[in-house]
């Protein structure tokens, strides 16, 4: 198995988080916190850094192994299987929700006469194709695509300067301390890329760098999150942020570089499509790895077909739910906190406790 360089690993974490942020979370943050959105994004960034540090500290005793190996160490193959299934559910759910969101947007803007299933299929087939290629093909392309996406968001932030209403950040506490800090902490689900931290160490060229890589990834994304939330907060009335199209895309329509550059939104949507393709590739390879681990198979390539079918079925089911926004808002948060944060850290703590009692065991 080819391993990732530090840079590739950092940008994988950034990609996983940035897709959740742009397609879903920015909207939820601004909608729930109003004028205190920037404050909330800074707060959840600090919280994410703290959690990442905790995860990395708990991982110190398990160099070069992933969470499933730790689960096996604690409770044997059965626990490994259960934990694997839970993480599989989270990754598949996040893939399906983001895919549905972008395909809906594409259908509204460009493919009004095309059945959504064809748009979904085009993404799913591309994901299958990426995953059939060599192991780190997606990680190298992700490095480029995510960098372009970060630059695009920064340019959107700069180009919209004329449209900003700086007083939109007042009242500074928005709906109150409770809404910004306590309820607002649930917006931590934006950092969905934390899930990758549990599976990252064995994939790194130098597993000892996992702390550096994790912190760098979360830090870069935090800057990205604050920039994107600031753009939306300073531009729109929070009531305008709700809707089918993601607000950063809407903000690009306001950019005016005279009559020469007029359709920047199309370019942005293309970058978004590439970015989501990269996200699906990374997430699907993670699913394959989880499935390979819990089923103890040697070749993971055949696993891709049932996973793609499962993804398509979840997407079609989600499309049939009219209150899709409420689902993404609440279910995404619940799954993130119960699986990625609670279950993940709980397993790491148990692993550390057991490690104290079983000192001489070697895990590989």
């Amino acid at each position: 198995m080819k391993k990732f360089s530090n840079k590739e690993a950092i940008f994988i974490i950034v990609n996983l988080c940035s897709n959740i942020s742009i397609l879903i979370a920015d909207q939820i943050i601004v909608d729930s916190c109003y004028s205190s959105s920037i404050l909330n994004s800074i707060f959840i960034s600090i919280l994410a850094l703290v959690i990442t540090t905790i995860i990395c500290i708990l991982y110190k005793k398990f160099v070069g192994i992933n969470l499933l190996d730790i689960a096996e160490f604690i409770g044997g193959k059965f626990l490994k299987f259960i934990i694997g299934i839970f993480f599989l559910i989270y990754v598949m759910f996040s893939m399906a929700v983001l895919l549905c969101k972008l395909t809906n947007c594409l259908q509204i803007v460009y493919y009004s006469m095309t059945d959504i299933i064809y748009i979904l299929l085009s993404f799913i087939l591309a994901t299958g194709f990426i995953c059939r290629l060599s192991n780190n093909a997606f990680s190298k392309s992700n490095l480029i695509v995510t960098s372009v996406s970060l630059i695009a968001i920064f340019l959107v932030f700069i180009a919209n300067t004329n449209n900003y209403i700086y007083n939109n950040i007042f009242p500074i506490l928005g709906n109150g301390i409770n809404s910004t800090i306590i309820d607002g902490a649930t917006n931590l689900f934006t950092f969905g890329g934390i899930v990758y931290l549990y599976f990252l160490p064995p994939k790194l060229n130098n597993p000892k760098d996992s702390f550096k890589v994790s912190i760098s990834g979360i830090l870069i994304f935090s800057i990205f999150l604050v920039i994107s939330v600031t753009t939306i907060t300073l531009m729109f009335n929070p009531k305008l942020v709700k809707g089918q199209l993601f607000p950063i895309y809407t903000s690009i329509k306001y950019i005016d570089f005279g009559t020469f550059f007029e359709r920047l939104d199309s370019v942005f949507l293309l970058i978004r499509v590439m970015n989501l393709g990269s996200f699906l590739g990374v997430s699907m390879s993670l699913c394959m790895e989880i499935l390979k681990n819990i089923l103890s198979v040697t070749d993971d390539k055949p696993l891709i077909y049932p996973l793609l079918l499962l993804l398509l079925s979840i997407c079609i089911s989600l499309e049939k739910i009219s209150k899709f926004d409420i689902l993404e808002n609440n279910l995404f948060k619940i799954i993130f906190f119960s699986i990625v944060i609670s279950l993940g850290i709980f397993i790491l703590i148990l692993g550390n406790i057991k490690k104290i009692f079983v000192k001489n065991k070697v895990y590989r």
């Binding site: 460009y110 006469m113 095309t114 209403i165 928005g174 109150g176 306001y254």
Partner: protein, 457 residues
């Protein structure tokens, strides 16, 4: 060999599936099947219960024949429908092409409809992903159809370019503003503020205006039974000699009217009331004021200038002082803002106090009295500066009191500065800015630094 065959088979099947799946969208997105609207006019229908939607298209056929679209009159279609979407639907059937609003530069609403409220129509437009939020919003004192029909200029013959340019010129005059549909809608959702749109009207002295309006009214009356009207622009030129004679007569009439009107003070200048005789059938001067999505009044050119000064949205402007009580000579001063206006709001008292400091710099463009031009040595720049300060302060106060007492809404978005004083939205809402604004006091301070003109004579 078998593997290659299967690969080719799979690729072919997938390609066929996608060609089938995406062909529907391709066929409607194909440029051959799309008609791009350049301006959309929305009027209230005669029965006052539905809308009359006017679509203006560029005649693109001239691109293919001569490569020149400059002299081709636009195509105008009007449809009576219950909503804008249903009007688009009907027109799709009529023209047998798909109507696309992604190049629509201007949305014109008639004053009559605006008085009833345009929130639902704007929401409908903003819900359309083709609509650009940077398109301009105009409230027409005449019918939107008439406005669209007459909205061309021989100075800029390409219609789309013309729509692009005209609102931007406002930054160097201050007599109107570049108000976009996106910003208007964003403000509409904020209950704390009023809202403004560009005010447009037919040019009263436009030589063939009488003809065009007669033509349009006759065509409207003849078509009133149907729900759809179609015509080319009201400026559609005809070469017959009798019409040339009519045009000459119209020109004479227009000049006579202009002479009767004389010069119009900026304070009385508003769209449709100017004394401009030219080749453009419409004019945009002043702004339309909205409260809760309903038209409540209008700002004249001077009010608009005051609004833009507070908003720091005017690059330079000309101020005329022609009042011997303020200054003994007639003066024209070109002014621009030195720094952003400083606005502070004091909410410690029962009624909020809004403090506005405006810092200007300018040059004398003209100074004269009825008989002689004063010598340079006799010009007291401090006195002129005081006159400018006094004059502008009075104008701004008069404008602000108008927004407070007549319109009962905060069109200058002072609420944004007021929000700074509160920690939470709840506290701000309890303060009830909308009602407090009606009783607020204004402190306006204008400081200007005046220089002599470029030529010292």
């Amino acid at each position: 060999m078998k593997k290659v065959f299967y690969k080719i088979l799979i690729v072919s099947i997938v390609s066929i599936i996608f060609i089938y799946g995406f062909s529907g969208s391709y066929s409607i997105s194909n440029t051959d099947n799309i008609s791009y609207v350049t301006a959309l006019g929305i009027d209230l229908s005669d029965d006052k219960s539905s809308l009359q939607v006017t679509f203006e298209f560029m005649d693109t056929s001239s691109f293919f024949t001569s490569g020149d679209s400059s002299n081709t009159p636009p195509i105008i279609n009007t449809i009576a429908a219950t909503s804008i979407s249903s009007a688009i639907n009907l027109l799709n059937v009529y023209v047998e092409k798909n109507i696309n609003l992604s190049h629509c530069k201007v949305f014109v609403f008639s004053q009559e409809l605006a008085k009833k409220g345009i929130s639902s129509e704007l929401t409908e437009l903003m819900n359309n992903p083709q609509v650009r939020p940077t398109s301009n919003l105009i409230i027409s004192k005449c019918s939107a159809r008439e406005y669209v029909q007459n909205s061309t200029s021989s100075l800029e013959k390409i219609l789309t370019k013309y729509y692009d340019i005209f609102p931007k010129g406002s930054r160097s005059t201050g007599y109107t503003a570049n108000i976009t549909i996106g910003n208007f809608y964003n403000n509409l959702l904020t209950k704390s503020s009023g809202n403004l749109a560009i005010l447009g009207n037919l040019n009263e002295l436009y030589p063939s205006e009488s003809n065009s309006s007669q033509n349009s009214s006759s065509s409207e009356s003849s078509d009133s039974s149907g729900s759809m009207m179609s015509s080319s622009s009201g400026k559609n030129s005809s070469s017959s000699s009798s019409e040339e004679k009519n045009t000459d007569e119209d020109n004479k009439k227009a000049k006579k009217k202009q002479a009767e009107k004389g010069t119009i003070s900026v304070k009385n200048l508003i769209a449709g009331d100017s004394n401009i005789v030219g080749d453009r059938g419409t004019e945009n001067i002043g702004l339309a004021v909205f409260n809760n999505g309903k038209y409540v009044g209008e700002l004249n050119a001077m009010d608009t200038l005051c609004h833009l000064l507070i908003q720091e949205d005017v690059i330079s402007f000309l101020l005329t002082i022609d009042n011997p009580e303020i200054y003994e000579h007639y003066i024209d001063v070109t002014l621009k803002e030195n720094i952003s206006p400083h606005i502070s709001i004091d909410i410690s008292n029962e009624n909020p106090i809004i403090n506005i400091n405006i810092d200007l710099t300018g040059r004398i463009a003209l100074i004269k009295n009825s008989t002689t031009v004063p010598e340079e040595n006799n010009i007291d720049l401090d006195k002129i500066s005081n006159a400018v300060n006094f004059s502008l302060k009075n104008e701004i106060l008069e404008y602000l009191n108008k927004t407070k007492n007549t319109f009962n809404c905060d069109v200058d978005n002072f609420y944004r500065d007021a929000k700074r004083k509160f920690k939470t939205i709840d506290e701000y809402q309890k303060y009830d800015w909308i009602n407090k604004y009606k009783n607020c006091d204004f402190n306006v301070n204008v400081n200007s630094l005046i220089h002599l003109g470029i030529i010292d004579s």
